[in-house]
Symmetry: C2
Subunit: 259 residues, 2 copies
């Protein structure tokens, strides 16, 4: 069965996009068929995957606010033959307010994705939905469409402040809109082992979420932050760098957990 | 006249909170009377300023969704005698949806702030409004209430992607809701001089916005990210660290520009 992840955390700049892009690339490198859905109006994931997303490009906006079938907007990423992306364009910026008054406003992504996956051939192994840094209707659509939540947590002080709010929101969605949803994976990002702060945050998170927190930790690495300026994942930009190897390891760990 | 800044950028994790808190502390250290309004449901600025913001604490939510006068929720920060804060609590998370159907939904913060400043004695010299990483009704309220916009820009690749969207939104507000609003200040943050990427982004930003971009650049510094875990600004946490000195310099530059 296709594993569908929502990559979410309303705290900004924690590595949601970087994680969605690099885990997807790592899995696709090993032959898995992977789809990334970019739900962030800034379109950072679309940029990092090297796909077209100018204003007139067919995008996820047309799928959730219009009724365009997802198959018509999916693009292949130049990164790997098995890596695909539903891009985000600037139109998505108005989607939250537009969705408020639409019928089935929380489920529009789920219906579009269910239809797409049921007819896709060959089958997709993974879907990663990259969310904006908020808990509005776009992120709610992602929670309703997914089965698993992946929470990137930056090893910084503010990381834990918003976590309980995020978990409460996920519980609400589980109870009212998507009983299958569960927080399956927590990934520690931007870990700088030289600072006490990072070690403390990492320890705190492991103590609170021992089962969900991956053993693999993503280090702070300049190569990771340089890759998107070339329209590449760090996996292709610098395969043997610590940043790339850590995402390859995290992808392997996620794949193993799903068996 | 009181200078009122909105600290905004819908890109997450670029240093909005860190900038609002540390500039305010730097100005207050030199005797200016400063108010920080925390408009982020995560309440990071409230935490960093060491003020109470548990769920039952009177907060900015009561001011903009209820009709509580701002004077009743303002708290003094333990950081400096001249530093005050209107805290954010968890209730703010629902405010965007609640505001949608309220009368004068974009102007509720402006009316509350105008009333507060007109009766405050002594007068406030500066107000900084810390925004969440989105362009929803909370950030719109901040744009309507302010006269100046301060945009922190992280010296990373994605920094420039969302900028044109932000500037377009500010222009819309200026045209329809607040003709006095202008982007007065751009501050480069988390600058790591060892990387080409940071130098390129800084150069790009200065070329596009020569007048607005401050000469002072905020370096990436662990002391800055450690300070909030002690409920302090970096100004009091480690006054002579590069991070603190850069915020003191940036504050002086902003003060000079306003003369
Ligand atoms: N492990 C890492 N090491 C160094 N830099 C990183 C790392 N992970 C992400 N970054 C950089 O940090 C910044 C924030 O990461 P990213 O944009 O992925 O976060 P996000 O959670 O998607 O942000 P937003 O909340 O705006 O959507 C980016 O400039 C990115 O290149
Ligand atoms: N100059 C700096 N050097 C090192 N770390 C920094 C610096 N400025 C901010 N940080 C850290 O980076 C993270 C992001 O900063 P901050 O929370 O201020 O950004 P923000 O734009 O307010 O985020 P959000 O979009 O979630 O509101 C925080 O953990 C903060 O401590
Ligand atoms: Mg992102
Ligand atoms: Mg913030």
């Amino acid at each position: 069965e296709t594993r569908i992840f929502t990559v979410a955390n309303q705290k900004g700049g924690v590595g949601k996009t970087t994680t969605a892009v690099n885990l997807s690339a790592a899995l696709a490198r090993h032959g898995a068929r992977v789809l990334v859905i970019d739900l962030d109006p800034q379109g950072n994931a679309s940029t990092a995957l090297g796909v077209e997303h100018r204003a007139e490009t067919p995008s996820v906006y047309d799928v959730i606010v219009g009724e365009t079938p997802m198959a018509e907007v999916v693009q292949q990423s130049p990164e790997f033959p098995e890596l695909y992306c539903v891009p985000a364009t600037i139109h998505l910026a108005g989607a939250e307010i537009e969705l408020v008054s639409l019928v089935a406003r929380e489920q529009r992504l789920r219906s579009a994705l269910t239809e797409f996956l049921s007819t896709a051939s060959p089958r997709y192994d993974y879907v990663f939905i990259d969310c904006p840094p908020s808990l509005g209707l776009l992120t709610i659509n992602a929670f309703v469409a997914a089965r698993e939540v992946l929470i990137p947590i930056q090893c910084e002080y503010y990381a834990l402040e918003g976590l309980s709010q995020l978990l409460r929101n996920i519980e609400l969605i589980e109870r009212h809109l998507n009983p299958k949803l569960r927080v399956s994976t927590i990934l520690l990002t931007m870990f700088d082992g030289r600072t006490n702060l990072a070690q403390q945050v990492a320890q705190d998170v492991r103590e609170h979420f021992p089962a969900e927190t991956l053993g693999t930790v993503i280090p702070r690495s300049v190569r990771i932050s340089e890759a998107p300026s070339y329209g590449q994942s760090v996996i292709t930009y610098d395969t043997n760098s610590p940043g790339s190897l850590s995402y390859l390891e995290a992808a392997a760990e996620i794949a193993r957990r799903g068996e």
